[in-house]
Symmetry: C2
Subunit: 499 residues, 2 copies
């Protein structure tokens, strides 16, 4: 790892690196005495991008300003990136209405729902003027804002020898490659990393024409479009072929567009195991261990954002069915569901949260006893408790309808102390990497889910150990530095191929 960092100075050929993501690595605020202070962000993407940033001292990270003090930093960092700890950041202030349209209408729910296949198509979406307005007055200006910030950073920061490398991240920023090419031409290397699933062409077609074609045309002006799995990369090539009618080879991961070659590649994202090991040993987490340990029987765990893609309902239903079929398990297991509240102001999410409460009640009423509650639901944001539960689970349920990667599976595996078994949806991105060590489930099949939970709860110790160790090894060996390095290697290869 030191060796990577020590290469210094940018990409492999010394090119300056710019990272662009909606959410940034730090948020600024004022402390009690009116001085500027900051907190570093958490979350999988930020952790991963920290690793990119560490890879090179001079890297600049561009992100949205999200607080008043952020806005002041944004103004200051127009000239030169703002330095904080090991980071150089340039924040971008957006018009509040434009940002709201981008984030709350176009990205969530529309792109999120389409890419996870969450719409009830006979009824929704009913696209219209709202969508067009969110696109034209929200998504496009916010994305152009980011491209302008990249241009400013590169102008003010001509360090490094080669052409710059611009690494754009996720579904809020699909139009950034388009605006970058408009401003900077073909010189910079541009990649866009999609951290959520890429659907098949039939799924993508649900979007209005100007979005589905606009996004694809922009992504094809990047040099590399990156995903967490080969499947999503293939889906992307197919989508480009079917929707735009361009030439593409899904096995080679190549699309030809306007005389250029665009690569579609998979780089499965990882976590920082050290970070989770430290967390697991922290006082905050230790304090939460008691309540988790006190739950009766084995611990069946799920930790998720409360999202329609996570398949929370069928998880409870499958567990209920398991209890029906195996009444001897009653009192021998508790299902702890830690569901972080999310997007509660979107009606679909409010309805989903309600359905979750109802599903929990049904199972608890049918199977519970005075001394045993089958499902313990915790709908709060308590990360230390989640990590305490990571350490203690016997079975971890990750049964997403669809999921870009799912980092819970990786985080939890690293710190688990019980040789816990992973029950993993075949449609979670993590399944490509971890499927062979998990018990695989079709997320739509309650009986398969019930069988999988039972098999995991009753798995012989030796088998559990073998799987848990292999899982830990797999997560530890695919380091986040390798995730970064694989991308940089492809950049070198791409530039070489392009000549």
């Amino acid at each position: 790892m030191v060796a990577h960092g020590a290469e210094g100075g940018g990409g492999r050929d010394g090119s300056p690196i710019v990272i662009v993501s909606n959410r940034g690595p730090v948020t600024f605020s004022l402390d009690g005495s009116g001085d500027r202070t900051y907190s570093r962000g958490a979350g999988g993407l930020v952790t991963a991008l920290n690793a990119v940033s560490r890879r090179q001292e001079g890297a600049v990270w561009i992100a949205s300003a999200t607080s008043d003090e952020d806005a002041r930093v944004a103004a200051e960092s127009r000239e030169e990136p703002y330095e904080v700890e090991d980071l150089r950041v340039a924040l971008v202030e957006h018009d509040a209405d434009a940002y709201d349209l981008m984030y709350n209408t176009l990205a969530n729910p529309l792109l999120w729902f389409v890419q996870h296949g969450l719409y009830d198509l006979p009824y929704a979406p009913a696209l219209g003027d709202d969508t067009r307005r969110a696109w034209e007055e929200g998504y496009l200006p916010v994305n152009e804002n980011f491209a302008a910030a990249v241009e400013r950073v590169l102008e003010g920061n001509p360090q490094g020898g080669g052409e710059p490398i611009v690494l754009v991240h996720d579904y809020q920023l699909y139009m950034v490659p388009h605006f970058l090419r408009e401003r900077l031409g073909e010189g910079p290397f541009v990649s866009l990393f999609v951290h959520i699933p890429w659907p098949d062409p039939e799924g993508w077609r649900v979007l209005p024409r100007y979005v589905r074609e606009g996004v694809l045309q922009s992504l094809l002006r990047a040099d590399v479009v990156a995903f967490h799995t080969d499947r999503y990369a293939r889906n992307f090539v197919r989508t480009a072929r079917e929707v735009l009618g361009v030439e593409g080879d899904e096995e080679k991961g190549v699309v030809r567009y306007e005389g250029r070659e665009v690569w579609a590649r998979a780089y499965p994202i990882s976590i920082d195991p050290g970070e989770f090991e430290e967390l697991a040993a922290s006082d905050a987490v230790r304090e939460q261990e008691g309540p988790v340990r006190d739950l009766p029987g084995k611990l069946l765990l799920r930790i998720d954002r409360t999202d329609l893609s996570k398949n929370v309902l069928r998880g409870f239903q499958a567990y209920g069915r398991m209890l029906e079929r195996h009444p001897e398990m009653k009192g021998e297991v508790t299902f702890l569901a830690g569901l972080q509240p999310s997007r509660g102001d979107i009606p679909e999410y409010a309805a989903y949260a309600e359905a979750i409460h109802k599903a929990v009640e049904e199972v608890n009423e049918e199977h519970g006893t005075p001394s045993w509650t089958p499902i313990v639901l915790s709908m709060e944001d308590n990360f230390p408790r989640s990590v305490a539960a990571y350490k203690a689970y016997d079975v971890l349920l990750v049964n997403a309808v669809r999921d870009g990667m799912n980092l819970v599976a990786k985080e939890a595996a690293v710190v688990n102390e019980k040789n816990g078994v992973l029950v993993l949806s075949e449609t979670a991105g993590a399944h490509e990497e971890l499927g062979e060590f998990a018990v695989t489930v079709n997320p739509f099949d309650l009986d398969e889910g019930a069988d999988a939970i039972h098999a995991a709860l009753t798995m012989p110790e030796e088998e559990k150990k073998r799987r848990a160790e292999a899982l830990k090894r797999q997560v530890r060996e695919n380091t986040i530095e390798e995730w970064v390095e694989a991308q940089l290697e492809d950049i070198t290869a791409y530039r070489k191929a392009r000549g």
Copy 2:
């Protein structure tokens, strides 16, 4: 046409032809004096298969017995096909429970919903024992029953020189190729024609493992798997590749499976224009012309089965939006929606019918006047009235979420007398053939729908005429005989290639 029929005696090399479909060309009953009588079936598939049957005198058509008298014919036709008019039929009697499980649990809604993308995936389907039972005790035995009937027909009917040709039809019979190969080996040529959309792999994955793999493995034991569009054929090749991991080339339409080559081909189905011209001139239809003609203003028409795939709600919503934007159109157009009742005992269909009534009320309350009802809804089975409306529409709306082909678009175009404009969903199978003569809509986009309806209603006469004539020509020139002939040609080519 006569030339085709005159070739006689079977396939191009004289092979006997067996047609297998769930619904047959005739239904038998007893008349008042206790004598056997029959009625010939209607509907697109039956019309098309009649053309196959006409292609060769000796062809035998195997179908399910659906009445008591059918059951008696089934018993009689075990030895030898039953002859009626120009047809030779062999009816198959199924165990009533098995048939119910096949039809009402496995085929509808499960396969129908998956192939049209109609599930609200965060909530449904919740697969379980019911599904497995429907598969094992319904779908498999009914399909095996059909294969046994094919075997009996071929044993008792060794006419023709070459190996027999077995043409299996649609999603109720996916497992017939499997059972045919078990019984008859590799000799017979077997094709299976899928008349509904074939989804992308992500869509197909919603099925339980035993169904999604079982069906694919069976289809890949056929020689040709046929669809109405190239897109569905490509989706099929992708699905085979992604779900079974077999080798396939979607551009060539070839899958390699167990050392054999399977072709995926598109043959867009047609109608019998003569049949509709006759109908249009019939008294039954003429009697219905008055009520259609009396509707105020131009006629916007939709004729559909009441199915969640037809996108009835958004059709009304788009029309409402058009009236909002163009108040000058009020009173100048009436939307006649002829919706044939369907599957009312399935809860999703009952809920959809209710939503339809509500959507109609909303538009009529908002925009209607004492002298003008914006939408006239007719939820009854009145085919003569539909044909009367076919003749009279100014705009025909076909905005399906997804549709295998959609024959309404073709039937109506042939008999329309008003140079009516077709507004056609890009996700209807018919769009590959008819899209260039239609006004295309994204079925999920209400604003695009509103604009399309308005553009169609106000299109200059010359432009309407040009399109309507091209549409009629296209439908008339792709005759149903050509549909049959293209398949027989490929059979010859396939056999030649296989050597």
